[in-house]
């Protein structure tokens, strides 16, 4: 008999006033009882609409059915058949606009907590099944993956399972891409990312850190000298965007990328870290996406009072709903329908205030969202000593500048076909390097698509 409660089992979490002062994970995860109870809310409907909402097509009703029976390892194996990073996706996927959006239970009441169940299953597996996967028999073919973020890790994992000899090249000193430098510890513990990376290594994947493709080794060399039969570029989004307003280079103006990298990758909040970071009193984070929420919540944890300044309304915030709720609970102040027009500084060039203008929403623009319009004469100042720009990124020019034969679009993204193949033979691409800043799961989907195409292409040649 299904559980007909209209509400999801709530996620046990650290109290807002405690968690906004530490970097430990906010959500604590379901207990086995809570997970089984939540799983019983699934009606196991025949047409499985949830699966169509999942970029990697996880067989959701089947894994949930196993959870309901208490067969957690079986549930894990069902997810792992299509998703390379279940513990990551369960935490960072925007479920409300994917699987859970299509859940029949969501028509009246809340959808099944698919993300929370995925997370439970992955965590259960990680703490109860310590065995690393076995290395498959090699098929003798070499593939290079550029970038160790979600797209690269997924592509590498899928190919390694098929017996390919995969090397992942990473520019930074740690593998994981945005999962380690961008998403904070309190939302995605780095031990989980490390575990996924270790799993790939057990499958035989080589991870070459400190290697910048385009600089240390070129794509030409990968194909011609190193003998990689295919190259997958998952190099991520790249250069952070800044507003074109006066004062943008004053001290205390950060890109979200820099602020988050100092905290997440370099652990600048720990006393033993040699990497500095400003400990601001009052911060304005500009932007309304997940990255803005992450930056705001990190700043809060460094002890600051934090504003989110966003030019549209609460309804239009592009961030995951849960992140917005968490941010509000933690005391972040939302200044929606506001936009900065100028940043001011003292005689040392240290930021001391930001001037904002009020906005109203007009007709929908090309993106389908209502266009924000400035209200003339509505400017006012907020005293802040730090401004963090979380406005998205533009593609990194490194590969473009150093590689011939790859076509790029007007915005600098790599042009690919439906298989992820670029205009250059044997070179595939996916993730933010193609789409511009998007989500972890979309990047994973692209890595998966490319892995399949690479396998088919190499088998066709052999």
């Amino acid at each position: 008999m299904p559980n007909m409660s209209l509400k999801k089992n709530p996620m046990p979490s650290q109290e807002p006033d405690i968690r906004n002062k530490n970097f430990q994970e906010v959500a604590l995860g379901y207990t086995a009882e809570q997970a089984m109870d939540e799983a019983q809310r699934c009606l196991n409907c025949k047409h499985k609409p949830c699966i169509t909402g999942c970029p990697v097509m996880v067989n959701i009703p089947d894994f949930i059915a196993e959870v309901a029976k208490g067969n957690f390892e079986e549930a894990y194996q069902i997810i792992a058949a299509t998703s390379a990073l279940p513990a990551v996706c369960g935490r960072v996927c925007p479920q409300e606009s994917q699987c859970e959006k299509y859940c029949v239970r969501g028509i009246k009441g809340e959808p099944v907590g698919i993300g929370r169940l995925e997370r439970f299953v992955a965590d259960w597996h990680n703490s109860n099944n310590k065995e690393l996967p076995e290395k498959p028999v090699s098929n003798g073919h070499k593939v290079a993956v550029v970038g160790s973020g979600p797209a690269g890790l997924t592509c590498a994992g899928d190919l390694a399972r098929l017996g390919y000899d995969v090397t992942v090249f990473e520019a930074l000193h740690l593998a994981g891409g945005v999962l380690v430098y961008g998403i904070p510890e309190f939302r995605l513990p780095k031990a989980i990312v490390q575990k996924e990376v270790d799993g790939l290594k057990a499958l035989g994947v080589t991870i070459a850190t400190d290697t910048v493709i385009g600089r240390t080794i070129s794509i030409d060399e990968l194909q011609e000298e190193y003998g990689f039969e295919a190259v997958f570029i998952g190099s991520g989004a790249g250069l952070p965007m800044f507003m074109d307003i006066p004062g943008i280079n004053y001290r205390g103006v950060y890109s979200a990328n820099e602020f988050l990298t100092r905290i997440n990758l370099m652990k600048a909040y720990l006393p033993e870290s040699d990497t500095p970071i400003q400990h601001p009193k009052t911060v304005a984070v500009v932007g309304g996406g997940n990255v803005a929420m992450d930056a705001a919540r990190c700043a809060k944890r460094l002890g600051a009072a934090v504003y989110i300044v966003y030019r549209r309304g609460m309804e239009e915030l592009p961030a995951r709903k849960e992140e917005v709720e968490h941010a509000e609970e933690e005391g972040i102040i939302f200044k929606t329908l506001h936009n900065p027009v100028e940043i001011f500084a003292d005689e040392n060039d240290d930021v001391n205030k930001v001037r904002c203008i009020r906005m109203e929403l007009g007709e929908p623009d090309a993106s389908g969202r209502r266009r924000p319009i400035e209200i003339p004469g509505s400017e006012f100042d907020i005293d802040v000593d730090c401004v963090i720009m979380a406005l998205g990124t533009s593609p990194n020019p490194l590969i473009k500048d150093t590689t011939k034969g790859i076509q790029f679009n007007r915005k600098g993204g790599i042009v690919v076909n439906e298989d992820g193949l670029t205009s250059r033979d044997g070179v595939y691409a996916g993730g933010d390097a193609v789409t511009g800043a998007a989500t972890v799961i979309l990047a994973m989907g692209a890595g998966k698509t490319a892995a399949k195409a690479i396998d088919e292409a190499i088998r066709a040649k052999a």
């Binding site: 520019a171 930074l172 000193h173 430098y181 850190t209 400190d210 290697t211 910048v212 600089r215 240390t216 080794i217 991520g236 790249g238 250069l239 952070p240 800044f242 943008i248 280079n249 004053y250 001290r251 950060y254 890109s255 990328n257 820099e258 990298t261 100092r262 990758l265 370099m266 652990k267 720990l270 033993e272 870290s273 040699d274 990497t275 500095p276 400003q278 040392n348 060039d349 990194n396 020019p397 490194l398």
Partner: protein, 280 residues
């Protein structure tokens, strides 16, 4: 891991490190830089390449011991390894087609000025070198500069060696004496590069500076190294490190570079104390 195969103390606070990094050695060109991290808790710092040997597979850097990271680095010996060493980053310096150039180096910046100067020289330009140091006990690479330049001026701030005074004065004298340079190339402390640029501006001599702002990844991801150049925001790591010295907004660049001065002072003292305890 990246092994130190040679460590040479050039001056008490200026040390040369030759590091095993065959992939970087194969690709490096004058003007490019690397990012290194000494240990697990270490900061990522950019250091411009002094020399490279693609056959031996080594890259040489010259570093002045001035802060926590460089102090930790100075405690390593031949055979020890750096945690991370990545590059070559940034664009190489353009040296082709110049007939006559002046290369101005300041302090440990001379370590980087040298390969650029040598490249100009090898590419057939007449090269004048002006190198400046605070005092004699910081002087490095004089013989190398002498061998690769047509004219060398050594300056010290305190007059303890060569001529007393600033590199900008020596440069201005050479220009006023009628030397017509296609380009002036300056590498050193930001303040020095700023004043070299101000010196050449009235003469309209194209002036290139090698910027070394604060950086984390060095591949265009963080934006910490951004500069205002001709009113546009540029990233030193991917758009540079070389820029038109007449277009750089120096005031903001200098101040941004000192953003963490207090933290750095603190860290330096902390590492000093720690190392003293361990050493003694």
């Amino acid at each position: 891991m990246f092994r130190i195969v040679r460590k040479e103390v050039l001056q008490p606070s200026v040390i040369l490190y030759e590091i095993e990094a065959p992939l970087i050695a194969k690709k490096a060109q004058p003007g490019q830089f690397i990012i290194l991290r000494v240990d697990e808790n270490g900061e990522r710092i950019p250091i411009t390449i002094h020399d490279y040997d693609s056959i031996k597979g080594t890259v040489t850097i010259i570093v002045q011991t001035i802060g926590a990271t460089t102090l930790k680095l100075s405690m390593l010996n031949e055979g020890d390894c750096l945690h991370n060493f990545v590059g070559p980053l940034g664009k190489a310096t353009e040296t082709e087609g110049r007939k006559k150039v002046a290369v101005v180096g300041g302090g440990v910046g001379c370590a980087i000025a040298y390969p650029v100067l040598k490249k100009f020289h090898d590419d057939g330009a007449e090269v004048h070198a002006i190198i400046g140091f605070r005092s004699k006990d910081l002087l490095i690479l004089e013989d190398k500069f002498k061998a690769a330049s047509n004219h060398l001026v050594v300056c010290t701030d305190d007059g303890s060696y060569g001529r007393k005074g600033l590199v900008t004065e020596a440069l201005k004298e050479l220009i006023d004496a009628g030397h017509q340079y296609d380009e002036v190339f300056a590498i050193g402390p930001m303040v020095m590069m700023k004043f070299v640029s101000l010196t050449t501006q009235p003469y309209g001599i194209p002036t290139t500076v090698s910027m070394s702002p604060i950086m984390i990844d060095g591949t265009g991801m963080c934006g910490g190294c951004r500069l205002s150049v001709g009113g546009e925001t540029k990233f030193a790591c991917v758009d540079g490190p070389d820029f038109d010295g007449h277009k750089v907004d120096w005031n903001i660049a200098v101040k941004r570079n000192q953003m963490y001065a207090e933290f750095e002072k603190h860290k330096y003292e902390e590492v000093c104390n720690l190392l003293n305890k361990e050493v003694r």
